[in-house]
Amino acid sequence: MAMAQPRGTENEAELLQLLVDNMSDYAIIMLDPQGNVISWSAAAERLKGWKAEEIIGQSFSRFYPPEDVAAGKTENELRVAAKEGRLEDEGWRMRKDGSRFWANVVITRLRDGSGNIRGFGKVTRDLTERRAAEEKIRRQTQEILEMAAVPVVQVWEGIVLVPLIGTLDSQRTQQLMERVLNRVTETNSPVALLDITGVPSIDTQTAQHLIETTAAVRLLGAEVILTGIRPAIAQTLVHLGIDLSNITTRASLGAGLRRALEMLKLQVVPASAGN
């Protein structure tokens, strides 16, 4: 296999410049030891908006949002890069027109043979799109989790059912309250069944949350029926001295549903009885 012939230094520098200019996702520039721009590239111009003659000689703090500059971020980044040899950062950067983009930045110390710092290389990547995509996924995941955590189902005209599964912590209870109250209002349902069959254990705080939810539902003009109270839960509640006498409770969801129908003055009768 034939090796490429070594070329002249002139030619090599030109190829290097072509590489730097044609990189589409990376803006590669050089800074002097004080942080002033000493070399610019076409890719940097495309990403950040400045032409070479506008930016060469200026401090690289022009690329940072004013609040970051005020907080001393730019000086700190150069100091770290000078000491450690390399610094990587992700954050907001500014374009010439004042707009911002989310960037990954690597600053590399450039030392000559005798160990003097000649300047810094700075590689900037625009991650705005990736960040937006990540943000979207995070939001969707959050939504799915919230939905799964507290489903609220309308089981009958005027009755919503909230099957609670797993441990109820403060954050979930907050969601629970919001979703139950909103659904009660939206569906105009006077009865909400809160089923705790799937709640493994109950403590004072959880009970307090359930009592609060019941009180809030009542303020809307609806009633809560707490169902699915297993023997172990009933024992715990009494031992903890939690007073649920103000809340309608039933052992099973079926019994709760029957009570809810009663409250709505509805009756379920065998089909034959109707004839």
């Binding site: 309250m177 209002t185 105009n188 009180a215 303020l219 809307l220 003009g221």
Partner: protein, 123 residues
């Protein structure tokens, strides 16, 4: 109706009181006066307090509502609070505002059904 004023409408023997979205202290203070006077004048059997526009409820407001309901009770009437927004209900419970054991209903229609049942068929 401007954003701070209160309206009292009489339908048959029931007073429907609508509160503005952001009632200031003087509106809240006027609530009690106005409702009790109307109770006397119209010989009303019940008061429906419509809070569906209300976005914030403070302790003064809550206390006034609870007290007014009690006073209406002494005058022989019944008070039903209607249409409280979920966000308002959450704050009210979480900061522990006392609305007493006030009667509530989801909508004005449901409240009217209830009051009319109690007061018998209308002639």
């Amino acid at each position: 109706m401007d954003a701070r004023s209160l309206s009292v409408v009489k339908i048959r023997e029931i007073l429907i009181v609508t509160l503005p979205s952001d009632p200031d202290d003087s509106t809240v203070a006027a609530l009690q006066e106005k409702v009790l006077m109307s109770m006397e004048r119209h010989q009303a059997k019940g008061v429906v307090l419509d809070l569906s526009a209300v976005e914030t409820l403070d302790s003064f407001f809550a206390r006034t509502v609870a007290e007014t309901a009690q006073m209406i009770g002494i005058m022989g009437g019944r008070t039903i609070v209607v249409g409280m927004r979920p966000a308002v209900a959450i704050t009210t419970t979480q900061i522990g505002l006392a609305l007493g054991s006030i009667e509530t209903a989801l909508t004005v229609d449901r409240a009217l059904d209830r009051v009319m049942q109690l007061s018998g068929p209308f002639q």
